[in-house]
């Protein structure tokens, strides 16, 4: 009996790992293909792509594609723009959407439920449906800068940031999470004299690490992958992000090696950062265990 049980467990373990490895391969091979291809001249790249050599650093290996990519497009500018826009949007979004979630869950005010329902209804609208009206709007909005009032937001960072700070999904994530926090903690803090801001800052935020991390990752993905909107609202490459930058490599003759080099440059740092965050994320869940 015991033998069979042990065997079964072993078998199950093997199966499980086999499946996981298979999934990992499916996910990882495109990445390996991209990295390897970025090191090869176009002709070899196309030849290799039909066989296993595509995944191996063999043949005429060099960093030439990277040099060429830098010459073809202002790569550093695109990366800088994306990082700036994404970073600011994620930070402001976490702040604003969590504060909104807080108000929806913990503060009692008139019209709260109606507004929440309305907000959730926006979840079903794809961005494409409001892109054009939004474009019309931002093209005519005023802005107060250091040099007085100006009209129209086109060709700027703010036009890529402000429309994406608040969104229904992020607020919804926070609302759902906050609802599960023990209400008596909030009430205890109120009786102890804490203001709403203090409750948010000292009680709710420290207990909500996991949801902040989740919301940040989701928002990051959306923002870093922005393509349609920046394409619509920016004409100058000085404001354009990485995904729009990809166009520079798809002209008359597609230089596949350079495309792969460019893609490697814009994905690998993000992946590294994500893996790092994931560790911090897991640690934060482990340490803030809310238990009764």
């Amino acid at each position: 009996m015991a033998m069979i049980a042990a065997d079964n467990r072993g078998l199950r373990l093997v199966t499980r790992y086999a499946v996981l490895v298979l999934i990992a391969i499916i996910f990882v091979f495109p990445l390996v293909f991209m990295l390897m291809s970025s090191l090869k001249p176009d002709q070899q790249l196309l030849q290799d792509s039909g066989n296993l050599r595509a995944f191996l650093p063999v043949g005429d290996i060099s960093l030439q594609n990277y040099t060429d990519a830098f010459q073809r497009a202002p790569v550093a500018t695109f990366v800088f723009n994306s990082v700036l826009v994404t970073g600011i949007t994620v930070a402001l979004s976490l702040l604003l959407c969590s504060a909104a979630g807080f108000a929806f869950v913990f503060v009692r005010w008139k019209g709260r439920d109606t507004l929440l329902a309305l907000l959730l209804a926006t979840l079903i609208l794809p961005f494409e449906t409001i892109a054009i009206p939004l474009l019309m709007m931002v093209a005519h909005l005023p802005w107060v800068g250091f040099d007085g009032v100006s009209w129209g937001w086109l060709n700027s960072y703010r036009v890529q940031i402000i429309p994406f700070i608040a969104d229904g999904l992020t607020v919804f994530l926070f609302v759902q999470y906050f609802k599960d926090l023990p209400g008596e903690l909030i009430e205890a803090a109120r009786v102890e004299g804490a203001s709403w801001w203090q409750i948010y800052r000292r009680i709710v935020m420290p207990l909500s690490g996991p949801i902040f991390a989740t919301a940040a990752i989701l928002k990051f993905l959306v923002m870093y992958n922005q393509y349609l909107w920046p394409l619509m609202v920016t004409q100058e490459e000085g404001y354009r992000p990485v995904m729009v930058g990809l166009q520079y490599f798809f002209q008359l003759n597609v230089a596949w090696g350079e495309v792969m080099a460019y893609l490697s440059m814009i994905t690998v740092p993000v992946l590294a950062f994500y893996l790092y965050l994931q560790k911090a994320f897991i640690a934060s869940i482990a340490s803030t265990g809310v238990k009764g």
Partner: protein
């Protein structure tokens, strides 16, 4: 000072009326217990006093101020919750000091006050732990520590002991009693455990369905319950209720009997009784004794529970109704043995037979 006065306080959620006009006066330094069955509105009333629930109508006064519209922080109250509600991401020290931190106290002041609270509650050795490393009783201490450290005028407790096991509950009950004497603050304590109510309270407020049934000192309520509900709610085992017929009325005295009860004259001050009325006779199990002679109540033993110092006997009366007697000595009875009981008529309570009286609280 911190007198608390509730004047015709009401609370409704939409069409659901939860508190239906409550008047209570609590003196400064008094230990007042709200007691009642589950769902009667104890917590709601307490939370209205704390400022965590809006008051639908009526007036709430703490000290000299009407506080209906003040936020909890400005009412000068501290509250201990049933779930303890201690902050899981802070150490015990940070938890206890939370109110002081919020009000911007200096580090020296915080350290001194936390140390004092920890000394009173004997939890100095716990200060640097996290809540997840504490037992239930220890968490309870932390919650109380957080409440006492700001020296509020009023303490509110919502069933603070209900998550503890029986032995610990008794310890903590005594400690809360001591704490009240030490601090001299006004305390309002919610429980549905009538033993806690009887032992701790200066004043008990018995609630039912959002209404006050009776207010008074524990012994007054015990010996002189105003109605069937209070009579049945306080005391364990709870009071026996016998349906009786009024045979005669003579001044304040009423002669009653039924199939198992020989005619007996008891005091009938709670209502006007007329000959021929049905009435309810309340007899505490503790005041029943095995009769030396013929006795007044007749039945047969149905069940006995020997507890050592006490023997609880369930008797099937001659008319078929059950009766509980708590005899203050150890005794052995055979099941089915005939039993005659006696009681002091002055210790019996006669109530009018209200509609629904038969279903009086069995707690």
């Amino acid at each position: 000072m911190a007198r608390i006065s509730l004047k015709n306080l009401k609370k409704s959620y939409g069409q659901t009326h939860v508190i239906k006009g409550v008047d209570i006066e609590i003196d400064d330094g008094e230990f007042c217990v709200f007691v009642g069955p589950s769902g009667c509105g104890k917590s709601t009333l307490l939370r209205m006093i704390a400022g965590l629930e809006d008051i639908s109508s009526g007036e709430l006064q703490i000290g000299e101020r009407v506080v209906n519209d003040l936020p909890p922080a400005q009412r000068g109250v501290a509250m201990v919750f049933q779930s303890y509600a201690i902050f899981p991401h802070m150490t015990v020290r940070e938890n206890v000091a939370f109110g002081l931190t919020i009000s911007g106290a200096s580090k020296a002041e915080k350290d001194a006050k936390v140390a004092e609270a920890a000394r009173i509650l004997q939890m100095e050795h716990l200060l640097d732990r996290r809540p997840s490393q504490l037992s239930g009783g220890q968490r309870q201490r932390v919650a109380i520590g957080r409440a006492i450290v700001r020296k509020p005028q009023v303490f509110l407790f919502d069933e603070p002991l209900s998550n503890l096991d029986a032995a610990l509950r008794m310890d903590m009950r005594m400690e809360i009693g001591k704490l009240h004497q030490q601090l001299g603050a006004t305390m309002i304590y919610v429980t549905h455990d009538q033993v806690e109510a009887m032992t701790l309270a200066d004043k008990i407020v018995v609630l039912k369905d959002g209404m006050v049934m009776q207010i008074g000192a524990p012994m007054d309520l015990y010996h002189d319950p105003a109605n069937l509900f209070v009579a049945g709610f306080l005391g364990a085992p709870s009071m026996n209720f016998l349906k009786v017929k009024v045979l005669g009325v003579n001044g304040g005295k009423v002669l009653v009997s039924n199939g198992a009860l020989d005619p007996v004259e008891v005091s009938g001050k709670r209502a006007l009784f007329k000959v021929g009325d049905e009435a309810i006779l309340g007899l505490r199990p503790q005041y029943l004794a095995v009769a030396q002679g013929a006795g007044r109540l007749h039945g047969a033993v149905a069940l006995t529970e020997r507890l050592g110092a006490e023997t609880v006997v369930e008797i099937a009366l001659k008319d078929g109704n059950p009766l509980i007697a708590a005899l203050s000595h150890d005794a052995v009875f055979g099941i089915g043995a005939q039993m005659n009981l006696d009681f002091d008529p002055d210790k019996a309570h006669l109530f009018p037979n209200e509609p629904g009286a038969g279903s009086v609280a069995k707690h």
